[in-house]
Amino acid sequence: MLITCPYCGPRDVIEFTYQGDGNRQRPQPASQDLDAWNAYVYERLNPAGDHNEIWQHSGGCRAHLKVVRNTLTHEISSAAFARGDHKSGARHKAEGKS
C-alpha cells in the first residue's frame, strides 16, 4: 500500500503508523461527560468501505495525515495534513487512487 504524503509524496505503508479512526471527537479537556469520553476512547464506526483515519508519517516527515481509505479494497481516495496550517509545505496532491 502506498500513501501519498502531502509533503513527501507517495511512500510505502512501512513508513507510516496507523493512528486509528479519524472520526473520533475528543471532548473538551475539562469535560466531565463520561459518555462522551467513553465514546471517544472505545467506540468505533469500523466501516466496511470508506474510512476516515489518521496516519502518522512516522518514518518520514512525521506529520499526521487525514486519510480516506476503503477498508474493503485498501484504495486511498485522499490524504491531507491533519492540521490545516501546513498548506504551504504541500507538494503532493493525493492522486486519487493509490
Binding site: 502531502p6 509533503y7 513527501c8 509524496g9 511512500r11 510505502d12 512501512i14 513508513e15 512516522s58 518514518g59 518520514g60 516527515c61 512525521r62 506529520a63 495534513f81 492540521r83 496550517d85 501546513h86 504551504s88 509545505g89 504541500a90 507538494r91 503532493h92
Partner: protein
C-alpha cells in the same frame, strides 16, 4: 567527492576535544568486497561540526528560509524537500516548515541564535545526535535502494533535495549532494549498526572506505 576543506574555525570552543565517532571501531579504510572489478561506491563519515534542526511556526516558513539564506548563504528552492549545498554547508527541508542545516564548522547554532527568534520558530542542535555518512559512486543509488523504499533516480530525487525515510528501526534523512552522492543522517546510537549494514550491502559492488 568534495574535497574536505578546512573551514575557518569561528567556533569559540576550539579547545574542545574532537567528537568521538560512533563508527570508529567499525570503520576500516581501504577497499572491500568485490572490488577487483572496480570500486563502485565510496563510503565515508563526513563529521560535520554542526547539524541543526530549524522549525518555523505555521506561516513563518518564509522568514525562516530567508534567515537560513542570511546565515548560510544558501538559497532553498521552492517546494517540499528542496535543498542546496555548497560543499561546506548544506540545507534541506525534511518536513513541513522544518529544515536541517549542516556546516563543516562547529558553532552554527550561535550564528542562528538571533535569526530564529521565538516568533519565527525553534532551533534544535543535533550536532552530536546525528551521524553523517556519505555514499558516493556509480552504484550509490543501487546500494541505497536496498535499504530505503524511496526513488533515488535523479528526476525523482534532484540534486540538493532532502528526504526523510526509514529502514526498519533506523530513521534517516538523506540529501543528494552530487549526481551520484548522498549524505545520510542517522541517529548516532544506530550509526554503527547502519554503517555495518551499509558496508555489507556494498560488498556486491565493491566499496572503498575513506
Amino acid at each position: 567527492m568534495a574535497e574536505r576543506q578546512s573551514p575557518e574555525r569561528q567556533s569559540p570552543e576550539r579547545q574542545l576535544p574532537e567528537h568521538l565517532s560512533p563508527l570508529e571501531p567499525a570503520l576500516h579504510p581501504g577497499s572491500h568486497g568485490n572490488f577487483e572489478h572496480g570500486v563502485d561506491v565510496i563510503l565515508s563519515e563526513t563529521k560535520p561540526g554542526s547539524i541543526l534542526q530549524l522549525a518555523a511556526w505555521p506561516g513563518e516558513e518564509k522568514q525562516l528560509i530567508s534567515g537560513i539564506r542570511t546565515v548560510t548563504g544558501l538559497t532553498l528552492p521552492d517546494g517540499a524537500g528542496g535543498g542546496s549545498t555548497n560543499g561546506v554547508r548544506s540545507v534541506f527541508g525534511f518536513a513541513p516548515g522544518k529544515f536541517t542545516v549542516v556546516d563543516e564548522a562547529e558553532g552554527l547554532a550561535l550564528a542562528f541564535a538571533d535569526v530564529v527568534t521565538p516568533a519565527i520558530g525553534t532551533l534544535t542542535d543535533l550536532s552530536h545526535g546525528r551521524t553523517a555518512i556519505r555514499i558516493a559512486g556509480p552504484k550509490a543509488e543501487w546500494v541505497l535502494a536496498k535499504f530505503f523504499a524511496i526513488d533515488f533516480a535523479l528526476p525523482a530525487f534532484p540534486l540538493g533535495a532532502g528526504r526523510s525515510t526509514n529502514h526498519h528501526d533506523i530513521f534517516a534523512q538523506i540529501q543528494r549532494t552530487g549526481a551520484d552522492q548522498f549524505d545520510i543522517y542517522v541517529f548516532r546510537s544506530f550509526a554503527r549498526s547502519f554503517w555495518k549494514a551499509l558496508c555489507h550491502a556494498s560488498e556486491e559492488v565493491g566499496y572503498e572506505v575513506q
